[in-house]
Symmetry: C2
Subunit: 202 residues, 2 copies
């Protein structure tokens, strides 16, 4: 590739013990992944197709990102992959899953560096048709339905829970409605956890 | 005022018994109002300031739109003014206010011609700083806090209710998450009304 030498030297600066080129290969896979997700959406994109687009072996893609969900999260610069969120949410008493979800989302959205990429994805999903399709497929198939199916919750109920927290994140951080924007996280947990718990346990 | 004769002559075209001129005066007031709201935000804009910007008498602005809330709704092409929504919401048994709110919002958002201007305002509030300030002030001071104060509900709770329904409208009509997008309105009422009712009655 024409750009490899430049990228290789960049790769080197990433840290000791790395062989030249590997940081850049990662970047090239992500660039290819963004193209493939934009063209095919999340559901139809495959690790193999992304590898082909990046001219690398699929095994290398798996090596860097483990799963398609992992590639998507990295390509969209999301701070967390479903694989790291879901266990935290699903482990623990069933009657506290609402509270765990509120705490998890408030923690993840509290720091600008983890919040901003998520808000950027939501914003583009609301204004751009292609981003919308990708977001919809990822959100439902990689996140919401996985949680719902694991907990035996109907899909409509998990989407009602998603809608509540999507609205809270928007009202608190994007629209900055007061008193929501400055509310103490514990107050929000007390207010919102019972709502989510009701959706999860009926 | 300089433009009054012209505006007066257009008023006539609006219907029998009306003198020509007012339809255009109305349009000029709305154009002026959009400028004033964009510059000053909702709270600091005044009927007097909008009248001055449109070079008409404040009484004429009141004649067309009754209140600042009414001007804002018309200027943003909102299908409903707070004055028409609030009585419908507040009248009736207190223990059914959650259900009334869900029904009202589902009805208003079901038809594209009433939904689209609302979604457009929400979209621009999420992507444009100025629209955000206007939206925030209008949403809290002209709608949410009025309902909250009338019902004696803390402002944070009314914003949690807003967040739930904002999320539902986005998930159903903008992101088009299934099964939410195709869900029967009665199913949504049964699912969401208890959430809102809890925010309203604690």
């Amino acid at each position: 590739m024409a750009t490899e030498p430049a990228s290789r030297s960049e790769a080197m600066s990433r840290g000791p013990g790395r062989r030249p080129g590997s940081a850049d290969t990662r970047g090239e896979i992500l660039t290819a992944a963004r193209r493939v997700f934009a063209e095919k959406g999340f559901d139809k994109a495959t690790v193999r197709g992304i590898a082909r687009e990046a001219s690398v072996d699929p095994a290398l893609v798996h090596h860097y990102f483990a799963t398609k969900e992992g590639i998507f999260a990295a390509a969209m610069r999301l701070p967390l992959s479903p694989e790291t969120i879901l266990p935290e949410l699903l482990e623990g008493p069933r009657e506290e899953v609402g509270e765990r979800l509120v705490r998890l989302l408030l923690r993840v959205t509290a720091a600008p560096e983890t919040r901003e990429p998520m808000v950027a994805l939501l914003r583009s999903a609301m204004t751009n048709e292609r981003a919308q399709g990708m977001f919809r497929e990822f959100m439902t198939n990689a996140l919401l339905f996985k949680v719902a199916d694991r907990l035996g919750v109907p899909h409509l109920r998990i989407e009602a829970a998603f809608a509540q927290m999507f609205g809270v994140v928007m009202a608190r951080y994007v629209l900055k409605l007061e008193p929501m924007a400055s509310a103490d996280p514990e107050e929000l947990v007390a207010l919102l956890a019972p709502t989510l718990q009701r959706y999860f346990t009926g």
